[in-house]
Symmetry: C2
Amino acid sequence: MASIKASIPKGTRDFGPVEMIRRNHIYDTIKSVFKKFGYQEIQTPTMENLDTLTGKYGDEGDKLIFKILNSGDYMLKADGLKQKGEELSSKNLLPLISEKALRYDLTVPFARYVVMHQNEIAFPFKRFQIQPVWRADRPQKGRYREFYQCDADVVGSNSLLNEAEFICIYDEALSKLGLTDFTIKINNRKILTGIAELIGKPSQIVDLTVAIDKLDKIGLEGVEKELLSKGFTAEDLQTLKPVILLAGSNEEKLAQLDTILEASDSGLKGIAEIREVFDYLASFKLNKAKIELDLTLARGLNYYTGCIFEVKTNEVAMGSIGGGGRYDDLTGMFGLQNLTGAGISFGADRIYDVLEELNLFPHTTQESTKVLICVFGKEEEKYALPLLASLRAQNIHAELYPFGAKIKKQMQYANDKNIPYVIVIGGDEMQSGKLTFKTMQSGTQEQLSVDEIMKKVMVS
Amino acid sequence: MASIKASIPKGTRDFGPVEMIRRNHIYDTIKSVFKKFGYQEIQTPTMENLDTLTGKYGDEGDKLIFKILNSGDYMLKADGLKQKGEELSSKNLLPLISEKALRYDLTVPFARYVVMHQNEIAFPFKRFQIQPVWRADRPQKGRYREFYQCDADVVGSNSLLNEAEFICIYDEALSKLGLTDFTIKINNRKILTGIAELIGKPSQIVDLTVAIDKLDKIGLEGVEKELLSKGFTAEDLQTLKPVILLAGSNEEKLAQLDTILEASDSGLKGIAEIREVFDYLASFKLNKAKIELDLTLARGLNYYTGCIFEVKTNEVAMGSIGGGGRYDDLTGMFGLQNLTGAGISFGADRIYDVLEELNLFPHTTQESTKVLICVFGKEEEKYALPLLASLRAQNIHAELYPFGAKIKKQMQYANDKNIPYVIVIGGDEMQSGKLTFKTMQSGTQEQLSVDEIMKKVMVS
């Protein structure tokens, strides 16, 4: 077999041992919090039927779906096309040669899952899912073609307790990961609708929020200029001014909105929802999270129908590390109507970068080998085997470096694998029964009996 | 958007909450043992370059690889073919429209990984990997197009300690999962080579082992008949008879082989290797595993070069639940020569079926919700929130069923989710401060204070 160059597709990644420990640390922490709040794990297949995915992510999204070629003689089905003399273009061929595609996100497969399994599910259904997704985006720094999503959603409950608990989940998980200064922003689609109703321009809500968002950078004048350029009138600006200048504590902002939006049923409903979420939160003690009502928050505006969330760290310059909100009719696309839902997502790749930058990954870990036994020869190896077995019987991760290599190389192995303790066994050690026990970080060496070693590594 | 029927590709599966807990139980148990023996986790991308995979699994295997269609206008590259008037057949088109494919196993990606990362790796490199693989096989009972593999391999060490430790890993993991009667069969490719040398028919070793394997079923006469039909001579049969009738303890078998294979260097080397593995095992205490030298074991004969393993449960009729062996030159296909390796695999799907049949999955689990709080109305909900927060602060998985549903429905939810304890709060409970605490399994109801409840659920 001719050898070929080892490489991987662009936009994909190998994860080595250290990265895996760190990634698992993030996922395990988030999972433990999901479970504490009653969320249950599911997994869906990597491949979905192409028509399950098509049309769910817009035209641009459809292009970014990775399609799987039908197996076998896939061109057979194109024979009709050939005989009719129709062009064998990418578009004409696609439905004939591909019926499956890679998962593009976790939301559509989840909707499909709920509909398929609706008779087995206990509603409200609280599920979490941590799996990779694939997008044929142009790869660039921080953007991959294969990446993990980490979602929790509840369907079948319109209680705002769910929204409050999502905030608690963000707070607990990110605090557990060591973040000490982060903000969970909250908004409500109904408030945005109310503002648009105020000026009779419901379709321009995105222009509006984008402009308001720049107040800090470009000042009131700048915001007004931008709004005028987008077709808003001087009269609109007058009405919008209190919205643009909305400031103060969350309670103060809500009080101002009471007045600003008093003519909008939708707006008042949105204010009431936010208040109810805050009421729930008053019964829960948050760890490190700050909560901020932010009217410029409008992510996935066409999608969310109630509360909207976004999470940002204030310790590192970084985009949002989480987001979500309430949506209605998630499962309508698969024929199950009127099932309300709400969900959040953790941006695990960005959280990884944040923890790395802040040096928050645990330095020691229960995952890796704790003790390496190094031996000078075959006889020492035999002598060492019962000790190796005893360590493992006590659940201590232990290895014996197979005899034959120089001790220096064995020590290098311990270093490379970040193994904290090394036991060296040579002829002297076998004779005296006192083994050389080295603590790698300090470099200290002691002569200890097997019992003393066992005690030492079990408590450390 | 027109609604479409919810379905998944044939041969793929959704895993619901109960299945996920059980699958994780299996993977977590195996992982914990891998780590104890110093194996480190890696993950490789779902997509590999097509030429990384092609030609590694034989012609049949190549057909079963799921290919991914190039993104964008994938037919552009086929223009040359069109202009030359060449047929747009499946075979001609494939290299033009597909450059990536889904991982077919974990072994080839591991070899590719080792070569790409050889300068970062501490050798001997002990890695484990638990990820799905995809094969375009015809789906049938127990055979899926997407399934998980669960592999541990070591490369860069020829010590037979590795082989002995693989047996310990099987023993510990399967014993931990609750199996009490299983056999780890061991053989050695060099012994099989020795036997073939005996009769001068090295190429017919598979026919030979297949025939010998039927001794129990068809008797010596049957085996000899089959061998004659495969072209072996009467003289061959005479030479092979002691091999076919090999019986007794492992030590007895080895002693007989000493004589049978005394003329074959390769055969004697194989015997010595098996003896050395047994010597190592004498220093380790096995839990439940039986070890059996089995000369008919020849899985992946073209692949393995030393010891070969296979694991079978004796409690349930089921194919092998694990297997592996030593191979040379794994990485040669990617240009890195002479790197020896050995590895094992757990058949997690089959182990799942075995545990289910033997009722070995844990009935209670730390994963799911432990306490559900049921409330009659809004006021009771508010009353319940601090209790909910206290439970979670003690790391108890707890949920509150949002008010509004009938208590019967809330109880049904607890039943469906297998939640062991339910707290019911109505007007009486709020007034007396004694909440109704129900143990679901027994049906017992008690009136308890919050403190009493906390104590009760924390110790249970």
